[in-house]
């Protein structure tokens, strides 16, 4: 069993608790603050989504939880606890026990996430031996079972296929089968459908939803697409510039967004049945790289409702009826709340 570092769990049902997670990258004499004070809790069986545009720090959060960040990354002043054990304080051996068995990861590009010189069967065998100690016939039976589970037809005949011989959707199913081979409690899927076409995308999301129920897994789904995230998640975190700007149920975020960035994200979504004459609305401006930890709202320069206070101090994430927003406009600027 993994070495445990006692940290009081937030509440009994909590599986994963992330508190004030900050990550910066040191590269070429420059420091980029990719994630700044992200906090959230994930209950057993719960699915949360993380949305945000490119560079907002979504993948960095995912990799920080797995302790798989590049050596150039530095995690500061945070707790990431899984069932009360602090992952950040674990030694590499203990962390390896967590990876695959307790937390599994699926990546965006199934094209490059499988080893090109190993067959599907070899991938499965390897994972099953590591996680379950299965070999030979037992491993074969379990491989077929897992491929069946993720909806691959004629699994026996797929075992001898190499990754390049499979379609994108099929590869992503194999990735998911590999990810669940260790019976993880938490599956982190980083843009699992971005590289796939729309119909396949829907199938993969359905598969994830089904597996979540059948295997009683929690899921963290990362995407830049609010629609993708909302379809699967109970709760959605909207990230901007490395901070969580909104944290609410999928319904609240989609129907009653409070943060101007979230509203802009929803407005920018092209509607399939929308009026074609209405031009697509992009969010003006671009997110810059952050070389300093933020001292004010990072969305302020692009915000249509920006006030003086927004570029002076950092709005805290405040919850009203379980709907969290980090915005001066929403929380009001009564002097007591400004830290």
């Amino acid at each position: 069993m993994a070495e445990s570092v006692p940290v009081a769990p937030q509440d009994a049902a909590s599986l994963l608790s992330v508190r004030d997670l900050s990550v910066c990258f040191h590269a070429k004499g420059e420091t980029v603050h990719a994630v700044n004070g992200v906090s959230f809790d994930l209950a057993r069986g719960e699915a949360i989504g993380i949305v945000g545009e490119s560079g907002s720090g979504k993948s960095t959060v995912a990799l920080a939880i797995m302790q798989l960040l590049a050596p150039a990354a530095e995690i500061s002043g945070s707790h990431v606890t899984l069932e009360g054990r602090d992952l950040l304080a674990m030694n590499p051996r203990a962390m390896r026990q967590v990876r695959g068995r307790e937390i599994a990861l699926v990546f965006q590009d199934p094209m490059t996430a499988l080893n090109p010189v190993l067959t599907v069967g070899q991938h499965m065998q390897e994972a099953l031996y590591l996680h379950e100690g299965l070999k030979g016939q037992a491993a074969f039976i379990r491989s077929v079972e897992l491929l069946n589970l993720v909806g691959i037809a004629a699994p026996e005949s797929r075992l001898s296929a190499y990754p390049h011989q499979l379609s994108g959707g099929m590869r992503q199913r194999v990735m998911i089968a590999l990810a669940v081979s260790g019976n993880p409690k938490l599956l982190i899927a980083d843009e699992p459908t971005t590289a796939l076409d729309v119909t396949i995308q829907a199938q993969i999301l359905q598969l994830l939803a089904r597996l979540r129920d059948e295997l009683d897994m929690s899921i963290i789904l990362v995407s830049h697409d609010l629609g993708v995230v909302a379809s699967l998640s109970d709760r959605v975190l909207v990230m901007y510039g490395g901070t969580v700007v909104e944290d609410a149920t999928a319904e609240q975020v989609l129907l009653y967004p409070k943060h101007p960035y979230t509203s802009a994200l929803i407005a920018a979504r092209p509607e399939i049945d929308g009026d074609r004459d209405v031009p697509l609305r992009a969010i003006p401006g671009a997110a810059g790289r952050q070389c300093e930890p933020p001292s004010s709202c990072s969305f302020a320069p692009r915000c249509p409702e920006c006030m003086d206070v927004c570029s002076q101090s950092l709005p805290p994430l405040l919850f009203v009826n379980g709907h969290g927003t980090a915005c001066w406009k929403v929380s009001g600027i009564d002097g007591e709340r400004i830290p």
Binding site: L68, R96, L105, F107, T112, L114, N115, V117, A127
Partner: protein, 306 residues
């Protein structure tokens, strides 16, 4: 598969034919072997003319070329002017020496370059990495005729533990092989390091780590495996180079392989012998390249022989 073989066979034939033709003209347009050889020996004009007529060298070059190609097609590469014997057996007798030398040099290359490349890429930008990269850059740029004599000075003259030259004992192969392995060793160390670093950044390596595999397993089954693929091609090319390009090393160490045979043949204006040696080398290189392609297709499932 059959089409692949047929195409490669035709290609091989064309390459060998082209090499044979080029060497024929390069040699025969450079001068007349009989005059060269006999005037040195003090023969008179009439004697030289008689020998040239007897050996067919008084015919126009096109006629001689046609004669050469047709005889060679039947496996007759003519007689050596210097030895007076058939050239092919002379060349074939030397071939094993060149093969042993190239084989040992390749073995040294692989045994040294692969661990060094893996080490350097495993600890990028460390002192170890920088040392290896610097040595490799050095190894790639120092010419063979400098390396050879330095090794002789150190190991044969100074330490007196290895023979200076010749092929009398098993140990004789060590110095020439080490000298010969310098360049490919350096090249492959650098290539493997670069290719390992590239593979290390790939998603399947990150995914393997995320699956909880040990670092050892990740390096062995995910990184090295894939990083060695481009190395394989270069190894094949380098082996081809070693088979054909050992002239300097064989000369420096008086190693009795095809390289020194070719050199002697050229010095003696022994055109038929040089010609036969070049053709044998060309065939060897073609065969090695073919085998490299086959091996590559066997280890990389993405490549099909077609």
């Amino acid at each position: 598969m059959a089409r692949f073989l047929a195409r490669r066979l035709i290609l091989a034939f064309v390459v060998v034919f082209a090499v044979a033709s080029l060497t024929f003209f390069a040699l025969n347009l450079s001068g007349d072997p009989i005059s060269n050889a006999l005037s040195d020996a003090g023969a008179s004009e009439e004697q030289i003319a008689a020998v040239r007529h007897q050996m067919g060298y008084d015919r126009p070059i096109i006629v001689r070329y046609a004669d050469f190609i047709f005889s060679a097609g039947r496996g007759d590469f003519g007689r050596s002017i210097f030895y007076g014997e058939e050239t092919l057996p002379l060349v074939v007798a030397r071939f094993p020496y060149t093969m042993i030398l190239a084989g040992v040099a390749m073995l040294i290359t692989v045994l040294v370059a692969i661990p060094l490349g893996i080490l350097a890429a495993t600890f990028p930008d460390s002192l170890l990495d920088r040392t290896i990269v610097t040595l490799a850059a050095l190894g790639q740029s120092v010419p063979i005729f400098v390396v050879g004599p330095i090794l002789i000075l150190i190991f044969s003259v100074h330490l007196a533990i290895l023979p200076v030259s010749g092929a009398e004992s098993l140990w004789s192969v060590v110095l020439p092989a080490v000298t010969l392995s310098f360049y490919p060793m350096a090249r492959i160390t650098r290539l493997l390091r670069a290719s390992m670093l590239e593979v290390t950044g790939s998603e399947y390596v990150l995914t393997a780590r995320a699956r909880g595999f040990s670092e050892f397993r990740v390096v062995l089954r995910y990184i090295s495996n894939n990083a060695l693929l481009p190395v394989l091609t270069v190894l094949g090319l380098q082996l081809g180079n070693l088979l054909g390009g050992a002239v300097i090393v064989e000369t420096v160490f008086a190693w009795p392989g095809i390289g020194s045979l070719t050199r002697d043949a050229l010095i003696n204006s022994d055109f038929p012998l040089a010609q036969a040696a070049v053709i044998v080398i060309a065939i060897a290189v073609v065969v090695v390249n073919f085998l490299t392609d086959v091996v590559y297709a066997l280890v990389d499932p993405r490549i099909r022989l077609s």
